[in-house]
């Protein structure tokens, strides 16, 4: 497979792929890695704020909970958020972009102007406002992120659909008696899939980061959830002397986001040769 060979030569992308694979494995295997969940949830005041040691590799937090265990348990939450936010954003954005690009006209303009309005407001602020309006918790954070992320998919798909729509094969399909929905879903969609996949991959990293920010600002996950962003928020008062409290959840965010971004960049290079980095 030529495409696989090309991908394997792209070292950062392979690194990204390995990171993502590891993160997914950790998330799936978290019950095995942390067999005793009490170390992550039960407070143990006597053992609070201990530096990394043989017993607690990442140290303990202000309630004496094992940070390594909390980081591992947090992986599942982070991936869940990323997957559901990006999935929901695709479900909203892709059909809208497809219809707007294919049908055009007044309907298309209407959809795209709505998209512009969403894009005009900074995503984070909109998400904070939405999350604030809904009840506090992980679900409203996810909803808020999805509602602010779909315009990116709508835009991407709109542009690509406009390009494919004028292709002769679409006219040939019309001439063969194919209906609009069949052309859109069965023929245009596969042609616009690759930029959507690239966007989705990069969006996963971005969403994990934004979800952590929401957690940090106190509109995302609620204690005692082992959320990475929440952990950093809780660690603020203990910096800089108890650095491990913030550093390890922070590293978890950094590495995961880096993994998705590297992999996403690599995918984009494969899919779109025009954007390929010079090397």
């Amino acid at each position: 497979m030529l495409i696989l060979k090309k991908f394997l030569r792209d070292i950062p992308a392979v690194l990204g792929f390995v990171i993502i694979a590891l993160v997914i494995i950790i998330a799936l295997a978290s019950p095995l890695l942390v067999p005793d969940r009490s170390v992550a949830f039960d407070s143990n005041i006597l053992a609070r704020l201990q530096p990394p040691s043989a017993e607690h590799w990442f140290g303990t937090d202000n309630l004496g909970r094992d940070i390594l265990a909390r980081v591992i348990l947090g992986t599942r939450g982070a991936l869940m958020i990323a997957l559901s936010v990006v999935g929901l954003a695709i479900l909203i954005g892709v059909p809208l972009g497809l219809v707007a690009g294919y049908k055009g006209g007044l309907l298309g303009d209407l959809i795209m102007r709505l998209t512009d309005v969403f894009l005009a407001v900074p995503q984070l602020i909109l998400a904070v406002a939405l999350a604030q309006l809904l009840s506090r918790g992980i679900t409203s954070a996810m909803l808020a992120l999805a509602l602010t992320y779909w315009p990116f998919f709508a835009r991407t798909v709109y542009g690509e659909t406009r390009r494919v729509r004028t292709a002769l094969f679409v006219e040939a399909l019309q001439g063969l008696g194919a209906g609009d929905w069949r052309i859109m879903l069965a023929h245009v969609l596969p042609n616009v899939a690759s930029p959507v996949i690239v966007r989705a991959t990069i969006g996963m990293g971005f969403t994990i980061l934004t979800a952590a920010v929401l957690g940090f600002l106190g509109v995302g996950a609620t204690p005692p959830d082992p959320d990475w962003g929440l952990a950093i928020a809780e660690s603020r008062e203990y910096l800089p002397e108890h650095w491990w409290f913030a550093a390890f959840p922070g590293l978890a965010i950094l590495i995961t986001v880096l993994g998705f971004n590297l992999f996403g960049d690599g995918l984009r290079d494969l899919v779109d040769p025009k954007l390929r980095r010079s090397r």
Binding site: G105, A167, L168, F169, E171, A172, L173, Q174, G175, L176, G177, A178, G179, R182, A186, H187, P190, N191
Partner: protein, 334 residues
């Protein structure tokens, strides 16, 4: 004989920012069973619009001002979209698009795309399949292999498993011809199917089309800008200029006894026929502001006052069913 497809007095305009563009004006074409009718004209004369009008795939804002498109007695312009999709497009009327490099979806195998036509319309003479199981698929595939053999694609079985980019232009055009024939249509509309191909391939495809018309018992409307192609392929020809039909009739009659000054000029432009290529002075008029009367008069050597004031109607001339729209032949009886 009653024609299979008959277009009468079709007038089509498209509103633009600079006003209404008159794309087709009093176009009349008749296609009889088993015949090949060529529609010839320069780029922008409305040939492709004519085909899109028959299939009903014109841009949304297009206005059909008058005219009928009768297909076996039914006016296609009056049929709802659902009926067109189910009974006409791809089923009763096949369409061969212009550029074989662009007319296939690049992300699907050729077989998938051909199967899709049969899944939507059913095998010739059958209803669309209720369920699409392995046996149906095998039967459809066998039908497709037969079709690909008929259009002389080497190795039809492997062809179905390949992607469009793995073929040459000529092969792809053959695949598209097979697609047009898949449901055994009565009429095939071919939109300059050989323009994007090189000369040798062009000749093969023309020969193939001519054979297929006999073999599959279809009639064909063939759009081209090349009188040489018309001479080789078509039984009858209809010449268009700036959205108007200017002359029509049997190919031989028109080539031997060219009447309309535009047709004369067009044939005079063909490198095979002209000793030194004359060309036609001036340019095709913009459809936004077509000249009044006969649209060719600004470029015509024989233009007279009446050409500007009155649009000449198509009139029969001679015994050969030749018809011409030109003031020169007013009241002429030969």
């Amino acid at each position: 004989m009653e024609p299979v497809l008959s277009i009468r007095d079709l007038r089509i305009s498209i509103p633009t920012d600079e006003g209404s563009a008159q794309i087709l004006d009093h176009v009349s074409v008749k296609l009889e069973k088993g015949r090949i009718v060529g529609v010839v004209g320069e780029s922008g004369c409305g040939k492709s619009t004519l085909i899109r009008a028959i299939l009903g795939i014109l841009p949304n804002q297009t206005q059909i001002e008058s005219g009928v498109i009768l297909f076996n007695g039914r006016d296609l312009l009056q049929l709802p979209k659902g009926v067109l999709n189910k009974e006409i497009r791809g089923r009763a009327i096949g369409f061969i698009p212009q550029d074989p490099y662009l007319a296939l979806n690049p992300v699907f195998r050729v077989g998938t795309q051909l199967l899709e036509i049969l899944r939507a319309h059913g095998m010739p003479g059958e209803a669309p399949p209720k369920k699409f199981d392995r046996r149906t698929e095998a039967r459809y595939r066998a039908h497709l292999v037969g079709l690909l053999k008929a259009v002389q694609v080497p190795d039809p079985e492997t062809t179905l498993e390949r992607y469009p980019h793995q073929f040459s232009g000529g092969q792809r055009q053959r695949v598209l011809i097979a697609a047009a024939l898949a449901c055994r249509p009565e009429v095939i509309l071919a939109d300059e199917p050989t323009t994007a191909l090189d000369v040798t391939t062009q000749l093969q495809i023309l020969k193939l089309l001519k054979d297929l018309v006999g073999e599959f018992d279809v009639s064909m409307l063939f759009i081209t800008h090349d009188f040489g192609v018309v001479a080789q392929l078509c039984d009858e020809v209809s010449v268009m200029y700036a959205g108007q039909t200017v002359e029509s009739g049997p190919t031989r009659a028109i080539l031997d006894d060219t009447r309309h000054p535009y047709t004369q000029a067009l044939i005079g432009c063909h490198p095979d026929r002209a000793v030194d290529i004359a060309g036609i002075p001036g340019q095709v008029p913009s459809p936004l502001a077509p000249p009044p009367g006969c649209r060719f008069h600004p470029r015509c050597d024989h233009a007279m006052a009446k050409c500007i004031s009155e649009r000449p109607a198509l009139q029969a001339l001679g015994a050969n069913r030749q018809r011409v729209a030109c003031t020169l032949y007013d009241g002429a009886v030969d």
